[in-house]
Symmetry: C2
Subunit: 206 residues, 2 copies
């Protein structure tokens, strides 16, 4: 196997990027069509501007099993109707791969869903390290008034399956504003995964 | 496969531990006998006290291939003769497994060595994320006057091979004080790995 050179990146909190990481992508509001319940609010927001909702800078050494990808996510604050700005969310294409998220600044939430439709939430602030275990669908939500910045790390062979969320009509719960805080609200369009789909996902352990 | 519960830990910088991590171990100076060149300085230091040189708190969800272990290392500042306090150092038992180290506070260095005996160093301070690629032996060194605190993450099936360093009579280079800074010094006891040992290590890619 090829020998890689050791390397170092630097967390730039002011810009919300990982300097030296090499990889970068961003998602604008228009890339997230269909994720929010309030389509009128979404259209009204988009008519005014198409902001960057989140930006990812990442370091990907190789796709070799057992190697690690790490990077940084910077999420803008904002709402679409009563829903907070969120990431598209994913399960890993190799569903048995985990991920960790290390909060750097801002205030947010990891929304998790098991294949069988159980919901969990983990609060993320500066200094929190959230562990997303194998088989949990996950999405980040910015609950604050500032950018939410997190460092992440996952196995390089994990991959991302975004369709798993689309196939069930979204995640089971939405994260909505309630007073000065937040609450979980039912996603009325949610279609539970059939037992055979749940079993198929859980059977993918390497 | 068993479904794990999502979990969150908290970086406690003041204490230098990862709250909620579950696992913990420490290495005192007496645990590190034989690593330093100046045996008289080592014995003199140990005659006065046996300080904790480093403490690790970690979260180990499972040893499942593709799962992730993460945690925190807190290294005391100090010197043995002209050498800075260091960790024992290791290659992963599965030598093709990498590791990342994310500096939280203090000032240090990752000393790396390839199987063929090439040396690299990565400076680590707050906000640095150092990537230790597969197959690189690595050891942390505290260059500062304060504790060096780092968050780390590695594949759960990586394991640690400490003997690889002992077999070669230590790492090829030592990190020593030079003026107000540091320098690499030859380890006079170093025995290069034979080509067949290098090839055997590199052949372990999964």
């Amino acid at each position: 196997m090829e020998l890689f050179e050791p390397a170092a990146c630097t967390v730039d909190l002011a810009r919300g990027v990982l300097d030296g990481a090499g990889g970068r992508y961003e998602k604008r509001l228009s890339d997230l069509a269909g994720l929010y319940e309030d389509e009128a609010a979404f259209a009204a927001l988009l008519a005014v501007e198409d902001p960057v909702v989140y930006e990812v800078t990442d370091f990907r050494p190789s796709a070799h099993a057992g190697d690690l990808v790490f990077g940084m996510t910077r999420m803008a604050p904002g709402r679409v109707g009563r829903e907070f700005f969120l990431t598209r969310g994913h399960l890993h294409a190799r569903a048995d791969r985990p991920e960790i998220y290390h909060g750097q600044s801002g205030r947010g939430l990891m929304l998790l869903e098991s294949p069988a439709g159980e919901t969990r939430t983990l609060s993320i602030g500066p200094g929190t390290i959230a562990y997303v275990p194998p088989f949990w669908i996950h999405r980040s939500v910015n609950l604050g008034d500032d950018h939410l910045v997190m460092v992440f790390c996952y196995p390089a062979d994990a991959g991302q399956d975004y369709d798993v969320i689309a196939r069930s009509g979204g995640m089971r719960h939405r994260v909505v504003a309630e007073g000065a805080g937040w609450a979980l609200a039912d996603n009325r369009g949610y279609r539970p995964r059939p037992p055979e789909a749940v079993a198929a996902l859980l059977a993918t352990a390497a």
